[in-house]
């Protein structure tokens, strides 16, 4: 199964980066979305895959029933997902503003002043 996770994260990185190399604002953001899904999968897989019980302690017990999944990567990914959402939402609206002020959604129209 690790092989599948490897392929999935590889595909997500590749497609995400490919989209970030495009010229449309929206494509770049979709790319960012794919990329952050890719990193989450990567953290998840790197943390070690076990098809096992959720890290929840059954009522009355003091410890979860082994084998249970490592809760740490889950917590990390949770944080990363939420942060990623905030960032993505903001970036999206920023792209919308850029689109509005440039009248174009082509990033090649964004050039720093002073350039040829």
């Amino acid at each position: 199964m690790e092989l599948v996770f490897a392929i999935v994260s590889g595909v997500l990185y590749a497609t995400g980066l490919y989209l970030m190399l495009r010229r449309r604002l929206a494509q770049i953001i979709i790319g960012l979305g794919l990329l952050s899904n890719g990193t989450n999968i990567l953290i998840f897989a790197a943390g070690g895959l076990t098809r096992s019980n959720p890290p929840v302690i059954p009522p009355g017990e003091l410890e979860p029933i082994a084998p249970y999944a490592d809760p740490v990567p889950q917590a990390l990914i949770l944080t990363a997902i939420v942060i990623g959402f905030g960032v993505l939402a903001f970036t999206l609206v920023l792209a919308h503003r850029v689109h509005q002020s440039l009248g174009s959604d082509d990033v090649d129209d964004i050039r720093s002043e002073g350039s040829a």
């Binding site: 959720p54 929840v56 009522p59 949770l78 939420v82 905030g86 939402a89 609206v93």
Partner: protein, 128 residues
């Protein structure tokens, strides 16, 4: 989107969603759930309200400005951490009074922030 069905459905769903959210918030410490998901459910309820009756109505139904919830939520979370500091313990040390603990308060802070964030975003976007 001002369809009658949506409006009726919203009237029915609103209280259910809010109750469900409180349920998720309450059980989060022991079962899957928690402040984040609960906050999202509440937001979904009000977003639905906004689609059905318009953003202005949804804002009225929320009673507080979502922007204000940002500060309040942060304050609650921060305060739950500072409670320990007030007793000379490290920041964010959990304090327990029976079954209730400062981590729960912290989760409420998260809950409020999430509502504030999501509704600030969706309301402003819908108004734009």
């Amino acid at each position: 989107m001002n369809s009658l069905i949506l409006q009726v459905a919203t009237r029915v769903l609103m209280p259910l969603l809010l109750l469900f959210a409180l349920f998720m918030l309450g059980r989060g410490h022991n079962e899957p759930g928690g402040g984040f998901v609960a906050g999202l459910i509440v937001s979904a309820a009000y977003a639905l309200q906004a689609f059905a009756f318009g953003v202005a109505a949804a804002r009225r139904a929320l009673l507080v400005d979502p922007e204000r919830l940002l500060g309040v939520g942060l304050l609650v979370a921060l305060g739950s951490g500072l409670l320990a500091s007030a007793q000379g313990l490290p920041f964010l040390t959990a304090l327990w009074w029976g079954g209730l603990g400062s981590p729960a308060l912290f989760d409420v802070g998260v809950f409020l922030v999430v509502i504030g964030v999501v509704l600030t975003m969706t309301f402003t976007l819908a108004e734009a």
